[in-house]
Symmetry: D2
Subunit: 228 residues, 4 copies
């Protein structure tokens, strides 16, 4: 008899990190295909979460699928890269409506990749949506844009699930979706059944949560609690 | 023309602290009357928040009122001492139903003191309601008891406001009402119009909130946001 | 064959804590004799560190020894209570020279208790020696008094070891002996062979040390590194 | 009459940052010449600290000097880039002696640039020298290599000053030179008169130092305290 517990990992953990200090990276650059082949060497790994667009070159969904197949890996979710230079001042909350629209387009493309792979969700980590200084932003507008951005996507793609990965801070001093409680408040306000939370255990510890991490967090509706 | 801004302080700031180290206190013990007379020397102080029961002796409401009057001080709220030895394992969430009942009685007595002074609210700081270790408590039961405790009081005293002062931790490693977002989730679940939040600026900073502190925090109902 | 590893505990862990919130304590008060009898029930506990003066009543060294003997416990060190109300503004660094002298007397009495029990050291935790605010203290004078206080004791008692237990903060916002490195700098300046460091693992973690805790920390002389 | 206070800035603050998230940077890439021209627009800025090698292209010392001159800027120090990919496992403490040698060469080249500009110091920020996990490194060897690396440079260049910029962590979980006290212990052990400390105010706050930042930190020799 075998366990039903599946193990997964973000594909970025098999790529090469860059930071403020080692600006040339902590190793040779890798493509998503390289990363999948390395992920395939991890015993018991069943699924990966893929960044979109694919990194390290131009690859079709079919090419990526071929690499996954030869490594016996499935796709649990797609993470659109909504935190790069284009979105440095925010994705859902960018002051420029054109950039907000571009974020919506990018995530809709990621939604199609979810459909292609039959994955479970589009993962939203709006890492540049937040603030750094007191009085820097209009908090009401920021929060409204955060919810509108997620809500519009969930309306446009009722066949898919959208999961928000909260994080207290970094790179912004304060991220808009900063905690499980605040994210649940937002999800209730959005009021759609296909929006949930993805719990990143590291981000939860980062926020001072030395406590339970469990699927059903306190929610007033019950309909919107976390799936993952 | 004068400002409408009023300044207030918790009366405990004018008393003598005890801690784990200076177990004999950081100065001579003081009664609530002593503390009021010292508070009266602070220029521009208009109101105080009083602990109940009164500390440092047996005093009637009338005696306390007399001290307040001679110092030109009003009462903004009453803070029942629901975090002393009797409540070391929790007030609203104590595993012993008898202690939970005793907490309810104590806070109802504090509610009468609010009526006596015509104060604005009963302030709830359930400082021992929380947890210290993983797997120490049943989080569902803890949260339910937290909400039931507040909800029962709000039902029993529809003429009064109850404000919850959240704090991330200390003395418990994690307090049940730990943040503005989580407290708002609870208030929405309670669903009564006379429950709100009291923002302690220090506690907000303690929770990593280097951000706005404003009366209307994100709330799905609008009816339950913070007053103070 | 048995291990040479001995286990010990501060006797205060078997007493009752008081804090700012449960000002009446987290349980019934206990005397040092009660605490020793409870400590005796811990399997594998060989030694205790005793506070001086003895808490919870008037007890002679002989009475305490009798309680220790019937519980098969030895004494590893004595901790003078140099952080109570009398020393609220500092022990070694108190602005009042009379209080500094009183700290010296108290610790010399504790030294005699070390001799009585044949214990290993006098443990110094000058918990109120430090600062809270920028510009509150003359840092040069504070540091000099910290070193003079320890140095005088070590000179007066060349037959005994004095160990400094550093801690980053609490109750002061910043404690004078705040880290292993700073304490070693001080020990080198004192320049006496009977001054060392006692490593409290919790205090080390508190200071952000997720690293080695080992007896020989970086020291330029080698003579003054930690023994415990 | 004018103040003798001079203002300076690291030239990197006028370049474009890259991080783990905006891997394509928070703006268009800039060369050191671009950055100098921007720095020149800051009123009251007199000096800059320059990274070596120069970023954003191949530039001679003369070309850089020309840019500085037209912006009325001097050079206070040179910061060798000893924390890039080549030094990902450490510079002074790299397990590969060839890389340690390469670090020495790079910093000696930086020393020549200090001479070219008549700058005040070579600034050492060995940001990858440290550890991440318990039991990851031999702490004695790490510390010895840290001191040997700095000491060798100071011996080879007795005409120049070398200043160590400590930082508690980031990118490593723990940096070898983590605090002012630990760095002073190292400087005393090195025992050369041309090694000191550069205080980065942000790094000091990062380490929990809400206290004095003053030139003469506690030092047993007096000869090695901080200059800057």
């Amino acid at each position: 008899m075998t366990s039903n517990q599946k193990y997964g990992a973000g594909i970025w953990h098999f790529a090469t990190y860059v930071d403020r200090y080692a600006t040339d990276g902590y190793g040779e650059p890798r493509s998503v295909i390289d990363a999948i082949d390395i992920a395939g060497q991890v015993r018991d790994l069943s699924v990966v979460d893929l960044n979109y667009p694919y990194f390290g070159g131009e690859f079709s969904n079919e090419q990526v699928k071929e690499a996954l197949d030869r490594n016996n890996l499935g796709v649990i979710g797609i993470t659109p890269e909504m935190y790069t230079r284009e979105f440095a001042k925010g994705a859902f909350t960018n002051p420029d409506p054109g950039v907000r629209r571009r974020a919506n387009e990018l995530i809709n493309e990621a939604a199609d990749v979810v459909r292609f792979f039959g994955a479970d969700y589009v993962k939203l980590w709006p890492g540049q949506d937040g603030w750094d200084y007191p009085f820097q932003v209009d908090h009401g507008a920021l929060w409204k844009n955060s919810l509108d951005g997620v809500g519009q996507l969930a309306s446009e793609n009722p066949d898919l699930k959208f999961v928000i990965e909260y994080k207290p801070r970094e790179p912004r001093v304060h991220m808009s979706f900063d905690s499980v409680s605040r994210t649940l408040l937002g999800i209730e306000k959005i009021g759609l059944p296909n929006v949930g939370i993805l719990l990143d255990f590291g981000h939860a510890l980062f926020g001072g949560s030395r406590r339970r991490i469990r699927p059903s967090s306190p929610s007033t509706t019950g309909a919107c609690s976390a799936w993952t």
